[in-house]
Every structure is written in structure tokens, then in C-alpha cells.
């Protein structure tokens, strides 16, 4: 049951006129609403949402081990988020140092004791475990490893083939960011990729490696 006094108050408030949108603003909003999709401004198109990521991906397309350092792709991805940049950089920096140390030790031992192909493969897997793949909504992708950055040569291994159909993906985190007033969703996943490693002397072997992926898309909710 409604209170008549409350109704009266609501009527009085409703009678208070609100300010109007200026004519220029009105026209601009209506123009945006009526604008055909093919005239979508370039700054609003999905491919331009994270240009730093897209450009990096374009350069790194179809590259495999030894083409791009891990921290480059990670840094380019973090440019679009602006959050936790320092933490992430320091985190990956410390990881990179740890990887470098472990790989270097393994490599030295492998050389010193005239190690077999297995030791080289182990180094390679260590590198791949920390590899980074960056995907975008444009469908381009890359797989990057740390070995070139660290100066480690995975000797004996001459090919790594990514087996796309044998993978399992887990979403690690989802977060919402803003870029140019656009809501950007960042989805970080871990994919257990199976790669086919071929070296000079032995049979190709399948190795499962976890690969981190970051996907940026236009967010649906605001």
C-alpha cells in the first residue's frame, strides 16, 4: 500500500525539470548511433584495441623456439593493462634469472661431461616451460622461448612442432581493464601443449609443456 505523501513527494520531484543535453552533444550521439558499421572509427576497432600486442604478434607469427625473448611479449602485453606492471616485471625478471641460471648450469654440465641429447632436451624443456605465447582476437599467435635471450643454444634439437589438437586449456585469471575508454577483458590461460621435439640423433619425442597465454578482447560487461 503506497503512502499518498510519498506519491506527492515523487510527483513534486518529478516536476523539477532536469537539464537538457546540448544540441551539439545530442547530434554527436545520434550520429554515432546511426553510423553504419563500415564507418566504424579505426580507434574503436578490435584490432586496434591493443596495438602494441598486435604488432608484436605480427612480428612473431609462426616463430618457434629461439626467436623472441619471453619478457618482450610479456612486457608488450602489460603495456595495455597499466596495472601491476612493476610487480609483473620484477616477477618475470626473477623468473628469468632463475631460468638463466638453471639452464646455464645444465648447459655447462652437458658440455663438460659430453652430455647426451637427453640433457639438451631437458634444457629445452626447461626453456619451454617458461615460454610465453600471446594470442589476440585477430587469431595470430606465437610461441616464444627464453633460450636466445639467455644465450643458451639448444644444441642437438633442430625442430619443435606444436601439436595444436592435443592441448588442454585452463583459465587462470580474468580481469577488466580500460583502454581509450573501451573495456578490455584480459583472460590469462595455461595451456598444456604437446610439442614434438626432433633432434639430430634420436626419434622425435612428444613433450607436454604448459604455456601461458594472454588474450585481450572487447569486454561485454562494463
Amino acid at each position: 500500500m503506497t503512502d499518498p505523501t510519498e506519491d506527492l513527494i515523487e510527483d513534486i520531484i518529478h516536476g523539477l525539470p532536469l537539464k537538457s543535453v546540448s544540441e551539439s552533444c545530442d547530434q554527436e550521439v545520434l550520429a554515432a548511433i546511426r553510423m553504419p558499421s563500415e564507418l566504424c572509427p579505426s580507434e574503436l576497432c578490435p584490432s586496434e584495441l591493443s596495438p602494441s600486442v598486435s604488432n608484436e604478434i605480427g612480428d612473431q607469427r609462426e616463430s618457434l623456439v629461439g626467436t623472441q625473448p619471453i619478457d618482450r611479449s610479456v612486457k608488450s602485453a602489460s603495456k595495455t593493462t597499466d596495472s601491476n606492471r612493476g610487480n609483473r616485471r620484477s616477477k618475470f625478471g626473477s623468473i628469468a634469472v632463475a631460468i638463466a641460471a638453471s639452464l646455464l648450469i645444465g648447459f655447462i654440465f652437458g658440455m663438460q661431461f659430453n652430455g647426451s641429447q637427453d640433457s639438451n632436451r631437458t634444457e629445452l624443456v626447461d626453456g619451454l616451460k617458461n615460454a610465453s605465447a600471446v594470442h589476440s582476437n585477430t587469431g595470430t599467435k606465437t610461441l616464444a622461448s627464453t633460450d636466445k635471450k639467455m644465450g643458451i643454444n639448444p644444441s642437438g634439437v633442430n625442430q619443435i612442432e606444436l601439436i595444436e589438437n592435443e592441448s588442454e586449456t585452463f583459465i587462470v585469471s580474468e580481469s577488466l581493464h580500460w583502454k581509450n575508454q573501451m573495456p578490455i577483458r584480459r583472460v590469462e590461460t595455461i595451456t598444456n601443449k604437446k610439442v614434438l621435439v626432433t633432434d639430430n640423433d634420436s626419434e622425435p619425442k612428444r613433450i607436454e609443456v604448459p604455456i601461458r597465454k594472454v588474450i585481450y578482447t572487447l569486454a561485454d560487461s562494463i
Binding site: T5, E10, I13, L16, P17, D26, L30, P46, Q181
Partner: protein, 184 residues
């Protein structure tokens, strides 16, 4: 779809401006917020898919497709509100120098006596509303001018519906005294 969007905009543009103006305190910034929000909305709507799931996984590939909003009006208000908050944060505007979202001109189709009484009540209620906290002013705008339910307001402002209902009840109690004084 664009016709629906335009219809909702035309019907609610003053209320949307007021919601933005309540946050930014400046008409031009509020209009910027509306323009930004609609530019974003128009682009987003072109990518709306028919499926319910926004993120699908297939062979390790993730794709994201925005969902169609269930309530377009609430979606627009929420977008404008968020755009206004973004602008307010980026400009760091002083909240003390804010502009009211009410027009200054009084209404007056009533008789002179009725108009004077009504204007007095309106003036008092207007001052009460203008003296409210930003969130309470926003509540008045969304409830009375936009006609949203408490649940929808809670969704837009990301608050619980019970909190919204309680706050609205308190606001009406505060304003009742003004009307009752007049009746007495």
C-alpha cells in the same frame, strides 16, 4: 537494434545527463561521458552474438563474444555512469564547484497561489536533494526520473537492493517533513 538504442536515448537523455552531471559536476564533462559511452556502446553492440556464453574454448583457442544486454535502458545508464566515473577520475575535478542537474527555471502552469505554494515545496525539496550525498542524489535520479526498480538500481550502482530500498525510504522520510509542514 540501432532504432531501439536511439529510442531509449531520446527518452532518457536528460536523466542520463543528470546521472553523469551528478558525478562529474560539469555539464561539458557529463556530455563527454555520454558521447564516450555511446561510442563504446555502438561499437560493442555490433559485436553482440546470439550465443549465451561469452567465452568459449575450442582446441585451445579462446574467443570472446559480447552478450546482448537483457535491459538496454539499464545497460545505457550503467555505461554512462561508468564513463562519467572514468572522466571524473581522470580530471580530478573539485566536487565543491559542481553544477546542479536541475534546470533553474521554475514550472508554472498553475494558478498564481497554487504556483507559489508548489514552487515553495519544490524549492525546499530541490534544496534537500541538492544537499544529499552524491549516491543519494543518484538514487533519486534513477528511481524517480528513470523509473528503475530497486533491483535494477542495485545492478547499475553495484549495491544490494535492500540497501537501495532502505536509503530510498530514508530519503522520502526526510522529504515528508517538508510536505507535512506545509500541510499543517
Amino acid at each position: 537494434m540501432n532504432a531501439d538504442l536511439e529510442a531509449v536515448y531520446r527518452e532518457n537523455k536528460s536523466a542520463m545527463l543528470s546521472v553523469a552531471l551528478n558525478i562529474t559536476g560539469c555539464q561539458s564533462l557529463a556530455e563527454d561521458a555520454i558521447q564516450n559511452a555511446f561510442a563504446r556502446i555502438v561499437h560493442t553492440m555490433r559485436n553482440f552474438g546470439d550465443s549465451e556464453s561469452s567465452i568459449t574454448s575450442s582446441q585451445g583457442q579462446l574467443t570472446c563474444q559480447p552478450q546482448r544486454p537483457q535491459n538496454m535502458k539499464a545497460y545505457l545508464f550503467q555505461s554512462v555512469r561508468n564513463a562519467a566515473i572514468d572522466i571524473q577520475r581522470s580530471t580530478h575535478r573539485n566536487s565543491e564547484s559542481r553544477v546542479s542537474f536541475f534546470e533553474n527555471e521554475p514550472l508554472g502552469n498553475d494558478s498564481p497561489t497554487e504556483s507559489a505554494e508548489l514552487n515553495e515545496q519544490r524549492g525546499k525539496i530541490r534544496s534537500i536533494i541538492e544537499g544529499l550525498a552524491e549516491s543519494d542524489r543518484e538514487l533519486v535520479l534513477l528511481k524517480i526520473y528513470s523509473g528503475f526498480t530497486f533491483e535494477r538500481i542495485a545492478q547499475i550502482t553495484q549495491t544490494s537492493a535492500n540497501t537501495i530500498a532502505t536509503r530510498y525510504r530514508r530519503l522520502l522520510e526526510k522529504m515528508k517533513s517538508v510536505v507535512k509542514e506545509k500541510d499543517d
